[in-house]
């Protein structure tokens, strides 16, 4: 007897399509809200003191170098609501170039980096990328792992050991303060539940995904990263979506968002030559990621907004 057509469990892609539609709906709704509530351009030069104070507190949580010097006439960073009008405009740019949302950051300013780790191959590529980054700038690092991933923990420990060693010389420098050195080495590990186990029942998957979404959102909100870097695992979708929502909501709810405006970076695996992975497609088409990097030039034909910056191995 052939299986009942309606009661067959749908395949993975239908379930993810619904998730994509939900994210799209949320995306559209948040953009509409942002536009509706954005003050008109003429307010650009008016500084809102209470908002600036809130943003100042958020800045204070980051590294030593601070924009909020005693000089009150310095221009406010883009993350504060005083520049609300310009922030959404950059996200709406239709061209492929990612208008940098972080014009506030001086090149030496630290960026709290959230790094999403997945299974084996993804982790290997991620650490290849991390090795090339300046550990002093991309710090503190907040690693996020899936609950079932044991090997990534070991790799994190090994990577951070190497960072410690590499920075040992710079830390001994008389110019560097202990606090600064500690901030270079600071890292945390957060474990989040997986959205769905292989072969899991469809209805149950909806709940586990919502749970993972909530958990990912809570993590992103608690950590308030400046950058979220992800290279493939599905675990990054809730985190990227939450970071994106945080950035969208930030001009509208500045006090709550605390001036956070995370930049979401997605690097597609070197294994993807002709098409993006499902995670990549979601982040690309829904415009959740600020930048989608691909490692094969041919992908730029199919995804014009993607950026090719060479292969990592």
């Amino acid at each position: 007897p052939s299986p009942h057509p309606v009661l067959q469990p749908p395949n993975h892609h239908i379930y993810l399509l619904l998730l994509a539609l939900a994210l799209l709906g949320a995306n559209v709704a948040l953009r509409a809200v942002t536009v509706a509530l954005t003050p008109p351009p003429r307010r650009r030069h008016r500084r809102l003191p209470q908002v600036a104070d809130g943003a100042r507190e958020a800045e204070g949580r980051r590294s030593a170098a601070s924009h909020w010097s005693a000089d009150a006439s310095s221009a406010p960073p883009i993350q504060s609501a005083a520049n609300t009008s310009s922030a959404p405009a950059s996200y709406w740019s239709a061209d492929g170039s990612s208008a940098s949302p972080s014009q506030s950051d001086a090149s030496h300013h630290q960026l709290k980096t959230m790094i999403v780790l997945g299974s084996g191959g993804h982790t290997a590529e991620m650490f290849a990328i991390l090795h090339a980054l300046d550990a002093r700038r991309y710090a503190p690092r907040a690693y996020v792992l899936a609950a079932t991933d044991t090997t990534s923990r070991v790799k994190v420990a090994r990577f951070e050991e190497r960072v410690d060693k590499d920075l040992a010389a710079a830390c001994k420098d008389a110019v560097t303060s202990d606090a600064e050195c500690a901030s270079w080495r600071a890292h945390t590990i957060t474990v989040i539940p997986r959205s769905r186990e292989v072969g899991q029942n469809y209805l149950y998957s909806v709940f586990t995904t919502l749970y993972a979404l909530a958990f990912g959102a809570a993590t992103a909100l608690a950590q308030r990263p400046d950058v979220v870097v992800c290279n493939g695992p599905g675990t990054c979708i809730p985190l990227c979506a939450a970071a994106f929502a945080l950035r969208m909501a930030s001009p509208v709810f500045p006090r709550w968002a605390g001036g956070a405006a995370p930049v979401v970076i997605y690097v597609e695996s070197i294994a993807r030559v002709a098409s993006l992975s499902l995670t990549g497609k979601l982040l690309y088409h829904l415009r959740i990621a600020d930048a989608v990097y691909v490692q094969w030039e041919g992908l730029r034909r199919k995804y014009p907004r993607a950026i090719y910056a060479g292969r990592i191995m």
Binding site: S107, L111, G121, A128, A132, I265, S275, G298, A309
Partner: protein
């Protein structure tokens, strides 16, 4: 481990030069032995192991001048039983291709005709195994492929057709198009081994994440 030591010993005792000369591959391959290393990484790829587990495939490799075959079977459930005695993980084939167990020994003046077959499931790092290989036959996983290419090994990639949404074949096709490897399916394996010509391949220049890191820095201001 005893097997590794036996393998070392047998290679050392085998003094004759292999017909077909040198090691054919780039620097790093072992002295006078030409090893074929088959790897499936951390996956299960029984179709490949089954295709290799064939006396005619071994005959093809011997005819091409290879002297040993190592299979890394990963999570696969199929254990070779045609080219090794059932239950053994290692065998030394002599002369007419008869299957004998254990290390090379007593009547071994004709080291030339010896062909060592062995298999294992995992090792912490396959780098050494790859370095010793004159030919790497790999599944199409990016990690294994780029590891072999980085070590400049002649590479034959076998694509696992049972995988869903097989994007691995795209990677194999792209790299083959650039002349860095050749690829085939398990069904075509024997034919591909016969036709494989390492001299026709070009070396792959490994990439560098530095450019990507610079792109990040530019993006973030």
């Amino acid at each position: 481990m005893p097997d590794a030591e036996e393998a070392e010993g047998s290679r050392a005792r085998r003094g004759a030069v292999v017909p077909g000369g040198g090691d054919g591959g780039e620097s790093g391959a072992a002295r006078d032995s030409r090893n074929v290393f088959v790897t499936v990484g951390t996956t299960s790829f029984d179709a490949l192991i089954e295709a290799m587990d064939c006396a005619s495939v071994v005959a093809t490799l011997r005819a091409k001048g290879y002297t040993s075959l190592t299979l890394q079977i990963g999570r696969g459930l199929y254990l070779p039983r045609n080219i090794v005695p059932p239950g053994a993980s290692r065998a030394v084939l002599r002369g007419g291709g008869s299957v004998g167990e254990g290390a090379a020994d007593e009547d071994n003046d004709e080291g030339r005709d010896e062909f060592v077959v062995e298999y294992f499931d995992f090792k912490p790092s396959l780098e050494q195994s790859m370095r010793w290989a004159a030919l790497v036959v790999s599944h199409a996983g990016a990690g294994s492929v780029f590891e072999a290419l980085g070590l400049r090994r002649p590479l034959l990639v076998v694509v696992n057709e049972t995988l869903m949404g097989n994007h691995q074949v795209e990677l194999a096709e792209e790299l083959a198009g650039r002349g860095h490897l050749q690829w085939c399916t398990p069904a075509d394996l024997k034919h591909a081994l016969v036709a494989f010509e390492p001299k026709g391949l070009t070396t792959y220049t490994p990439g560098n994440p530095v450019k990507l890191a610079a792109a990040f820095d530019t993006l973030l201001g």
